[in-house]
Amino acid sequence: MLLRHTPKEIVERKAVSINPAKTCQPIGAMYAALGIHGCLPHSHGSQGCCSYHRSALTRHYKEPVPAATSAFTEGASVFGGQANLLQAINNIFSVYEPDVIAVHTTCLSETIGDDLPQIIKKAETEDKIPAGKYVIGVSTPSYAGSHVTGFSNMVKAIVDFAEKTDKKNGKVNIIPGWVEPSDMEEIKRIAKLIGVETIMFPDTSGVLNGPMTGKYKMFPDGGTTIAELKSTGDSIGTLALGEWCSADAARLLDKKCKVPCKVLDMPFGLKATDRFVDALRTIAGVTVSDELNAERGQLVDLITDNHQFFYKKKVAIAGDPDQVIAMVEFLVSIDMCPVHIVTGTPGKKFEKRIKELTDGEDYEVNVKAKGDLFLLHQWMKNEPVDLLICNTYGKYIARDEDVPLMRWGFPILDRQCHQYFPTVGYKGGLRLLEKILGMLLDRRDRDSPEETFELIL
């Protein structure tokens, strides 16, 4: 047993987190910043943070993840990190020549109270920021919220670019939330199929799923451009996908530039995608294309064809709030039973939303925000499941409990192609169900005695 010290009996813990289902804010800020074209993320703290975040993102995407650090030493920790950051800004623009430096703080710089806006202003005053270049900054204390909060905070900071002119641009802003590059690409494709012009930010497609060409581009072709970000202030509205990841930025943009917004669930699964598509077509006043209708119909086809395999299968899920909410709705919609649900990110509204989504189902649902994988594992020991949906850390539980694991979420460190194939939208739904179905049927094939081993399923 890999997790041999995890007891079945559950005792409430108030102080120790074991096997977390979250990490800290800065990595989220770093990921979001990579979705701006020509942007170098910068970690204002000790160099270890930056190293850890880059390593984690690199392992997940199998792509280069450039980011710089203020490289605090003990001195900086005592006297403040202003000198480090100013020096860093100067060095970065000299050596790497990004369009934007997106600075986020760490628990260290937060604890000592560094004032980012003031430092950035100072950099401006001291002409450390070349003409046409930008430095944005955001406070992402590691001791509050989670990586999701950090992502959300950086997306809010990106709204700083928005400018309101007299003329609407006719476009819809989409804030996709922390999804994969492939998901962002798919969201754009769906909008295009509907015939809606969009500005999506952040957009890591083309950044963290790049080709192998023999050339290294520190700033790949993808990412939302500054021109686009400026133009978001003139858009007709903003669709924010995910209350946790995207809503704050959308509301800020509304406040700042009077661009109205709507918060939707992330478009995982049939119903959430339906709502997303319906919102887009309604905003644009267009008819949904046959092609998209056909994709939807394929997903419904797969669901109806395979309902027998999904029906009443129990699932344990750990992940980030927006993703898990959409996934739970999807699972419930195909008559699967999400019985154990954990997110590491704090927030009681998560538990409330899950309760709403599973209201009226004929099974008990364990749900916890600010939970951890240790608790999820204990729940699974008490009530076993047919499937675990989790990031790669779930594999330790999966092996111990002999449960199939669908890797989904962040980080995925031991498998590939999440960066290439979306799980959002109808096609993403097909992919998710293909995986779930494959796992359930593989298990059936494995566990069938010879008499009931089947050719046709």
């Binding site: 943070c49 710089a68 030493t73 003990e74």
Partner: protein, 546 residues
Amino acid sequence: MATATKKKKVQWDPADVKAELLKKYPPKVARKRAKQIMINEALENDTPEITANVRSTPGIITMRGCTYAGCKGVLLGPTRDIVNLVHGPIGCSFYAWLTRRNQTDAGLDGENYINYSFSTDMQEQDIIFGGEKKLEAAVQEIYDLMHPKSIAIFATCPVGLIGDDIHTIARLMKEKLGDCNVFAFSCEGYKGVSQSAGHHIANNQVFKHILGEDDTPVEGKFKINLLGEYNIGGDGFEIDRILDKCGITNILTFSGNSTYDKYATAHHADLNTVMCHRSVNYVGDMMEIKFGIPWIKVNFIGAKSTAKSLRKIAAYFEDQGLIDRVEAVIKEEMPEVEATMADVRSRTEGKTAMLFVGGSRAHHYQELFKEMGMKTISAGYEFAHRDDYEGRQVIPDIKIDADSRNIEEIHPEADETRFNPRKTPEQMAALEAAGVKFKHYDGMFSDMDEGTLVIDDVNQYEAEKLVEIMKPDIFCAGIKEKFSVMKLGVPMKQLHSYDSGGPYAGFRGAINFYQEIDRLTHSRVWAYLKAPWQESPELTAAYVWE
């Protein structure tokens, strides 16, 4: 492999390369980096001593991690039966959770916490009002849940700043729990300039809190400890296999697959052998002072180095039986190694490598490349000190700067009951004369060719330039560097984590490594970077139909 790689003839002058690396830097950065980029044994180099163990420059994308990473991640991580409790916001514990490839064997006792991450997950109120109570409660909760024999507490950045007294908490909880050794590490990430400071802090605490606590005798005729070996990819298991075969008892590998009890009984060893000079050499010194155990530098990376290290150990024990046994083992193991080496070398001879990694590996692995006929054209450490480049003789000359000054140095004295010099001064002298050099390490420079580039704390920009200019056949570094190097079409081998390979130590490890480098440098997949239409973008007149 069907594709033969054509021999590249790249002409470059090391001084030109160095100039190219420095060209784009602001003057201040350029001046600093000039002292960390050394053309080996080149007269025109006006910095005969390399600058190392100094701060990385803000904004310059370093490969380095932090003190916490060196302490919790590297040193204490692999000890399987100590619960590592990270006191801080969640991230630090999360990122150090199973991200190194230390292998552990739960053994008969079945205690193994390596697959767990424990954290106090500090929240805003903890930062404001202090986290001591939460830490105390966390220790109690862990104890109640799992009853480990020891809990180690690690401080992250904010802990020092807000003044949580983790050592007092540890002492109090140790007393309270009675059968659980609780101790703490002030390894805040901002301390020192790299992981190296973290190693130091870890070593000191282990030395103070566990090493030599248990006087129960340990069986074995030839007892050693192996310091600075972390069992990445099973290296330690392979070394143990060889030592066992030779009849040598390895009490403690510090810290791969180690246990609390192994630390506690390590003072029964009669010889300390040091693998990673950087991370652990001063533990050898301290143990010699406290217990009278001499130490020698060994290297089990490379088949020849392995044989050499085994012979050194045997020579130390001055026992003909052991000497014969070691020779027999070498004789048994080497034929397969040599056969693979010869086969692989027929393809790798003359190829070039770059190594930028760790505190010793960038040196050790040059041995393996040499065995394959490959030349290391540039190398450097991530967190070394000058002695790792120049040899231990420079230690007295190293100036301690502000960043190092705050890292505790402990000055042990001979243990009242346990000190026992293993050899007389005369024996030591005789052994030295016979080639068994104690407390000796020559550093990386001496093993590298003239005109090669040695670069301390190489960064993203320099690495990219080096690869572009010098086009090595293989580049070795860590995960953060992996994919930018590969994008340039150059095979890349992680030498921190070995990607998912290993072991590479010892005899079998050498075979693995030859085969791995053979695979990497001869894979046909590197020929696919350009599509046919990119190779010949001009369209010929008309398509040729059948």
